[in-house]
Symmetry: C2
Subunit: 231 residues, 2 copies
DNA sequence: TCCGGCAGAATATGATCAAATTTTTCGGGG
DNA sequence: CCCCGAAAAATTTGATCATATTCTGCCGGA
């Protein structure tokens, strides 16, 4: 096939072939997933369009997708905001996450290749570094990266898709938890998980994943039940 | 302030609450869920806009949501189509559905009120009537209605949301199954489920749900593996 | 077989309309 | 004289449409 090098001289400053609404979606997704938007915060189409230097329609598309993801909620009238997690929501998330993500870990075990293990180990070291440095955003990003890498190996697109969606729901609250408790006390079952994956013990990997999810979500649930309402 | 109930927007007299893109979304959702669109069928924005007598923008929004739901797939270039389920997909759906929907049945049991049981019984009779009449569409609609009614009682919005999304994925294929095997041989654990719900036996209800899901999805998986030769 | 134009469809923009929230003002009561 | 509440205007924001632009896929000619 021919070289892809035709830079389209007629279009100024548009070398990337990524659709605008996709870029906006990825951008907003990261902002929500890593807690750059606070729970309960209202989002406006025009405000986002201006802050992201994008048109109104792509922002609209992205918001629509995020609402479908559960990352944003449609407030009855036509207001959109970052959802506030309730204790009941957190409890449901605990069950579903344990069920799906432990199964993903189980499936990933037999498919894990040495190169994957090396990559996971590197990510885990980055997680530890972020924890030591008190870098909340870095921890959230790396921790997600660690889980996402495992799920990619599991080769189960539907389950990985569902897991991704769940992360979008508790992402903002997880940031609040880290802000309250700091990064030092965060649970980290990654070592157990890596060991289990390394020796091909699927059940142990699934168990470690369950514990990791359980501990992380219990902190979220604790914040939601303990502190009634902040403004 | 906290998010007060979304049932009453507060404005007195709100009958005209019909956003166009929401209507288009619900319409397309039903069409996919009940098999009015065949797996693999391509959909175009302009074609849908014309067939639904709607503008282009609302159709665009609805398609975006449905893609995020997994009810439609984005074919790499800018083509959109109804997804073809693979055997691996079906196998994942079996696991996740059994996990989530059995838990929903378990939670619904203690919350089930007599009026809910009466309603469920009525829906189940409609299911039986559709089966006897060989009414495939009616069966699909009523069967979904039966499950949705149970999940509504469970009062677990996140899990019910996930279950809804899963139904969108296998809906088109389920129609194919019914078209191949007819409605007579369909599994129906609804009687067991109703009995368990009636006597408040959560574990039995969950078990019946697992069996209902298992049997239905095994038929889908069977069709996909048996005749899964096309690309 | 390969290259270039052609058609069709999706993406993206801006304007315009409608709805809801907010603010301001006016009237009544303490 | 001041405070409170309600109603209406104004602003802000979301929804929709018409239109231009760009890209993909296809077809015909060299």
């Amino acid at each position: 096939m021919g070289s892809i090098g035709d830079a389209a001289p007629g279009t100024p400053g548009n070398p990337a072939k990524a659709p605008a609404h996709e870029l906006v979606y990825q951008r907003l997704r990261s902002q929500i997933l890593f807690g750059e938007m606070a729970p309960g915060q209202a989002v406006t189409i025009q405000g986002l369009a201006e802050s992201l230097a994008a048109g109104m329609t792509p922002v609209r598309e992205a918001i629509r997708r995020l609402i479908s993801d559960g990352a944003l909620v449609f407030q009855g009238n036509r207001r959109v905001s970052v959802p506030l997690l309730t204790a009941a929501d957190a409890e449901q998330l605990i069950y579903v996450r344990k069920s799906i993500e432990s199964e993903l870990a189980r499936r990933a075990t037999s498919r894990m290749r040495p190169a994957d293990l090396v990559r996971l180990d590197g990510i885990d070291r980055a997680v530890d570094a972020a924890i030591s440095a008190g870098d909340v955003t870095g921890y959230l990003q790396r921790n997600y990266e660690f889980h996402a890498a495992i799920y990619a190996v599991a080769d189960a697109s539907i389950m990985a898709d569902l897991a991704d969606r769940l992360w979008l729901r508790f992402g903002p609250s997880l940031r609040v938890v880290c802000g309250r408790f700091g990064t030092q006390n965060l649970p980290d079952r990654h070592k157990d998980m890596l060991a289990a994956l390394g020796r091909g013990d699927a059940e142990a990997a699934a168990r470690a994943m369950r514990q990791d999810v359980e501990q992380g979500m219990q902190m979220v649930a604790g914040v939601l039940t303990g502190a009634g309402g902040e403004e």
